[in-house]
Amino acid sequence: MPADYKIKFFVIALLLAWVFSSRSNGAEVMQRTVILSTTTSTQDSGLLDVLIPLFEKQTGYSVKTISVGTGQALALAAKGDADVALVHAPSLEKQYVADGKLLNRRLVMYNDFVIIGPKEDPAKARLAKSAVGALRAIEQAKASFVSRGDNSGTHVLEKALWKSAGVEPKGAWYIEAGQGMGATLGIANERNAYTITDRGTYLALGKRVSLPILVEGDKALLNIYSVMEVNPANGPRINSAGGKAFADFMVAPQTQNVIRSFGIEKFGQSLFVPVAGKKEDELGV
């Protein structure tokens, strides 16, 4: 190919690249951007669709919400690829705080997990009353159980429950979905299997899931959400002011009121109980 053509093509490519990169937010805008790493449950329940516009209006920041499993959300924050984290795995969170990767852990809200399963309840999990007892019964009956298997907050809680039950879940009855809560509920429903789900997603899926709640109201099933700021030392370009602004927003009285009333209209009950300022051992179901 002649040299002048090479140059022409190169120039066109450069121009196109410039057009497309200048079209998006430049660096100036990015400083007003807060990256929130959070869990799928806050997004799938629709809560963030209500809260984020409020925050943007109040502060002028623009929020990029990355909703992934809690494990990944925390890992992203620890690498400095987010400015603030809103997650629900207290044991994991405390490790990150102890390591100095995340700062100023504050409780925001809670709801609860429930154990659901086949109506006929072959493992008699319903009789167990406690979550740990129910899991033990499921394992003894080798009844199908679908696990998130994705290191999400729900999965972390499930693993802790198995540990308390003194059982290592293994075998054909233990199905690891590796997907979000909605997809996992779908698999459990199709396989007529047991699973653990947060109440919010379970309610949101409504009649798509025909498995009834078998165990609820156990303190071990509390699902506690906390907000943490990312340590600016984790990496370059962390918007720590923006991260702190979002964390402050989540525990502000006005926001907590919005959280309290969220879901009443659609589901006839609140999906989350706001608990800013409280300590974990003060919570009850």
Binding site: I12, A13, S24, K79, A204, L205
Partner: protein, 237 residues
């Protein structure tokens, strides 16, 4: 089956009710994948032509790499682009992660080998004597290239369609580098995944149908250009 019907109804409701969010998502899908396709064409066609018409050391390795790249898994592209673009990554200073530009970049990486590979194949399929003839009747090298492009236009249009089809339909890379952010990087495929996760199967089906209709419309347009120009074969019967 009833669910699919609900999805069809929902699609009609969203499209003809001019649901602002759905239209914005559709438009963004088109802008990102259309832009990525244009960029891939402007880079991939010259690359494919160069590989087809010239000989240089390492040519066959590059050609083999491009042919392999035609099947690049979008999630793999998404993972590596993310690693580079994360703030903690080597290109973090560009602050492109979770932006439409990042999605264009990932999609160019997916579509470029498809365009370059098909361009290369279509130019290699041209009769080398054609080039000699054109030069013989006094064509300049620029005119030669232009005439060869015209000669290869049918397979070149196929390359356009394959490149666009590859990126408008992918979800793995868009999800990872775009983040599926509402109003910023949510496109038809990532919105479909989200709505399925939320259990809004009717909306998910509606979005899928919109995606199918969009790709069909674009391919129909390109096919009309392609087939309208097709040489007539003598009647075979």
């Amino acid at each position: 089956m009833e669910l699919i019907w609900q999805g069809v109804q929902k699609a009609i409701e969203l499209v003809f009710g001019f649901d602002a969010e759905v239209w914005a998502i559709t438009w963004l899908s088109l802008k990102i994948s259309g832009g990525a396709t244009l960029l891939s064409l402007s880079l991939g066609i010259p690359l494919g032509i160069a590989l087809a018409l010239t000989r240089f050391p390492g040519r066959s390795i590059i050609a083999a790499l491009i042919n392999t790249g035609m099947g690049l898994p979008p999630v793999v592209v998404g993972l590596f682009v993310s690693i580079f673009l994360w703030r903690s990554g080597p290109l973090g200073f560009l602050e492109l992660i979770y932006s439409p530009s990042a999605m264009v970049l990932a999609q160019v990486i997916i579509a470029l080998p498809i365009v370059a590979g098909l361009t290369m194949a279509s130019f290699q399929n041209l009769d080398p004597k054609l080039g000699l003839q054109l030069l013989g009747i006094g064509a300049s090298r620029a005119q030669l290239l232009w005439l060869l492009c015209k000669e290869a236009r049918l397979p070149l249009l196929a390359a356009v369609m394959a490149g666009f089809g590859g990126v408008i339909s992918e979800v793995g890379a868009s999800m990872m580098v775009g983040g599926n952010i509402r109003g910023q990087t949510r496109v038809l495929t990532t919105a479909t995944v989200l709505e399925t996760g939320k259990g809004n199967f009717d909306v998910a089906i509606a979005l899928s149908l919109i995606l199918l209709a969009l790709t069909f419309a674009i391919n129909f347009f390109l096919t009309r250009i392609q087939q309208g120009e097709q040489r007539r074969w003598p009647r075979l019967s």
